[in-house]
Amino acid sequence: MTNHFIDLQHADVFLIQGSNAAENHPISFKWVTKAQERGAKVIHVDPRFTRTSARADVYAALRSGTDIAFLGGMIKYILDNHRYFEEYVKNYTNASFLVDDKFGFDDGLFSGYDPNTRKYDKVSWAIKRDAGGIPERDMTLQNPRCVFQLLKKHYSRYDLEKVSSITGTPVEDLKTVYELYSSTGVKDKAGTIMYALGQTHHTTGVQNIRTMCMVQLLLGNMGICGGGVNALRGEPNVQGSTDFAILYHYLPGYLAAPRASQVTLEDYLKKNTPKSTDPRSANWWQNYPKYAVSLLKSWYGDKAAKENDFGYEWVPKLDDGQDASVMYLFDQMYEKKIKGFMCIAQNPACSLPNSNKVRKAMANLDWFVHVNIFDNETASFWKGPGMDPKKIKTEVFLLPASASVEKEGSQTNSGRWVQWKYQAASPPGDAISTGDIVYRIMAKVKELYKKQKGGRFPEPILNLKWDYADEKGNFSALKVAKAVNGYFLEDVTVGDKVYKKGDCVPSFALLQADGKTSSGCWISCGSFAQDGTNLMARRKKTDPTGLGLYPEWSWAWPVNRRIIYNRASVDLEGRPYNPQRAVLAWKDGKWVGDVPDGPWPPMADAEKGKYPFIMKPDGVGSLFGPGLGDGPFPEHYEPVESPLPKNLMSSQLNSPIIKLFKGDCDVYASCNPKYPFVMSTYTCTEHWCTGGITRWQSWLTEAQPQAYVEMSLELAHLRGIKNGDKVKVESARGSLECVAMVTPRFRPFKVDGQVIHQVGMTFNYGWLFPKDCGDSANLLTPTVGDGNTMTPEYKAFMVNVTKA
């Protein structure tokens, strides 16, 4: 979230799209309801009428996989009807920037596309710069090569009729949503967007969210109280696991994972440290070297020195162009190229797409260590449906872990609040925390490397600083947290302030690139005060702004800022656009309110003022965003499995940069009469993800006992299915049986003049327990992901449904 849960109460209009917030983030509705009591309006855009829709003021249905068309239409509406917040757009976005003359867009493709590599050469996706490197601008927004005009041209194609024919949303509903949401493009109104996996689980997932960001920039809704783009993350700690890089392509604090061609630390830093010559751009990422070196110091301690590149050589490198995301990982396992596997707190046999492939892949392993609080379909894959335990050679180890309430540590909520928690109960039996498990295994590996010569690539193991035990020798979450925050490793003087060796670094602004500081995750720096006080454990309810920022309750990254990009909430003079909900104000030469995005004075100060979007090299919000692989403006493409033979927007049917797997399990069936219905998977309030935890809880399985497929009355009639019947759901990859839920909450879509049916299932079930609950909906989902992130396309694919 750019904002935070409590801040939702300040919105005037909510756009909930790609999220079933009421069901999957119930507590968010505490604040949504509070806003509604004040007169706020809630819009819910979703293929299915859910518990969120039931509480919304406006519901609009769209066919799965058409969010960019829906939001592209909104952008057109905002531009055509001058609903944008002009002052904000001119000053705080790159709308006025001029774009390279060679940049273009034609029939679904941007300039620079190479169909052989399925990649763009992005050289033409550039901003024009003067000799000094400063972007060329036209503040009147009239120049045909300015971002604003190019934006207008790009979305001119997204008219109401065209959008409606793609999304299946009636034109009247589109108009209602566009009109209501764009009413927030004024100074004193706030519109917030809440999204979740309904936006990300597409081959265009990243661009879906970018479109939302663009809408918010146009309406001046970023950085303000009650605004923002708010990703609702999973409980208990998905935000925390992202911050700490439980993904392959980056390091803690969103630093890039090194690539093989970046041989030296200098290569790595040069590649990843953005430059700006604009004195008005803070270009915060120019501090990249400080964060990277402090991370290396945290990992390798005294062994990391300037002379050895702080141990950069020991960090694992990805090959250039290598994708090591989870679908590739299992593809490699399926190809028998991965022999050992550690799986912690997950259930890939039910959670990953094309579960049949995943389950078969695991049978190719020599060994498999599974760490979890319960047995699940992954740990027991060798005795699952279609498996013959006698023929599976994989040796499986199941390590019992403590549950979240059985351990001390930090948890980060969607609003970036890092809250320290105490251990509420002791874990049962031999169970210990996952942190302790990892700690003990690595300590043992180090010991073996020391004792036995000939261990492969010993330096990273032997030089790893691994001192996170307390005085009794037990793993200490507190010690890890302090290392994550970081220490001064020598006496350091900054300005007139002296920091002693051993002090905690109280802000990432103090981290150094010369090895004098350590920090295991720079964004967490400041979670401890200099004297070692754990700020995450704070529980004070003081509320100086009256806006519910509660600055002394826990700690939020970055630097306890509760609303990020908050300097965009004020005008050039530093006066809040909405004085009734002032996140920040420039008073008597200083900022008052939330922790500002940097100390500099407002923009009107020609000498010292800085642009508000400090993480962007040019300092402004990117309406034109050349950073992604699939284009600087989001464009509608059909899902890989679509009901349509062609894309109504262009000749380019699917996202031009996605990659398909070619194994025998990786089959796709688009616009195929055998699989005529669009399907989406999702979850429900009562179960958590694959149900690996919740299916063992009898009050929850009582409420949601068995797998079901939701479908419209019309589709049920077509197939002769009655509510409660057993049905077979089948895709090109697999099939399963479950119960039909026939409901008016799903309605057929009218798409390109034809009737398209959509169905949906939760992925909450698996064969292990309860025995009669049904198997995973991911037996059906395709192995394909977003072109930028490889997030699987769980939300839009094709199936058939018949009476079982």
């Binding site: 309030t685 949601q704 839920m741 008016p744």
Partner: protein, 217 residues
């Protein structure tokens, strides 16, 4: 006007998260029962001796063709003049108790001597159930063991949106009245069901029968 306690159940704020249904089981030590998916989100299908609180789900189409989905977090209404107490007491003295201070209606072990069918049919909201083994009658107690110790009922405590509020009856009646007035602006059929007769007051925005057969008794 009767004093004591009341609960407001504002269905217009309910997200059917079923926190209340689960919290009720947790506080009262009631087991999860074996259920089946029957083509509806609702489960269990009805009250039982092991289920005092059940969130009822009802979907359909409005006159304009758009779908609706109504949620009704059903429970004992704790009537001001409870017919079930009369029905039980008529057969066995001390089988049912109306707590004077709070107004909560509870059954005792002696209720097993009362004719269950008669007690059940006396209730306009079809709430009382019987434990098949012990024959003791069972239903929501308004968490009398909590509310007499300055704690709200478990269901109210669990509600994330403020759809359920517990308090002094006069205060709750006032809240219900105000909420209905507010809702009437957009939902002319809004009403507080049998507010003058029951302690657990449901606010609805449409015809009560669309929520549940016995919503309004």
């Amino acid at each position: 006007m009767a004093s004591g306690k009341s609960i407001l159940v504002d269905t217009s704020k309910c997200t059917a998260c079923r926190g209340c249904q689960v919290a009720c089981k947790q506080w009262n030590g009631l087991p999860g029962t074996k259920t089946e998916q029957l083509g509806n989100y609702q489960n269990p299908q009805d009250f039982s001796a092991d289920t005092y609180k059940v969130v009822r789900f009802a979907d359909g189409k409005l006159e304009n063709g758009k779908p609706y989905w109504y949620f009704f977090s059903d429970m004992c209404r704790h009537c001001l003049d409870p017919p079930c107490v009369d029905a039980i007491q008529g057969y066995v003295d001390g089988g049912a108790v109306k707590d004077e201070a709070t107004g909560a209606v509870t059954y005792t072990d002696k209720s097993k001597e009362a004719p269950f069918d008669e007690v059940r049919s006396s209730c306009p909201f079809d709430v009382p159930r019987q434990n098949e083994k012990t024959k003791v009658l069972a239903k929501c107690t308004m968490c009398i063991d909590r509310i007499t110790h300055d704690r709200p009922p478990a269901c109210v405590k669990s509600c994330p949106t403020g759809a359920m509020i517990f308090g002094e009856r006069s205060q709750i009646l006032d809240l219900a009245k105000k909420r209905v007035e507010e809702l009437k602006k957009t939902h002319p059929k809004a009403e507080a069901l049998k507010a003058d007769e029951v302690r657990v007051i449901f606010v609805v925005t449409d015809e009560p029968k669309k929520y549940h057969k016995y919503a309004a008794g």
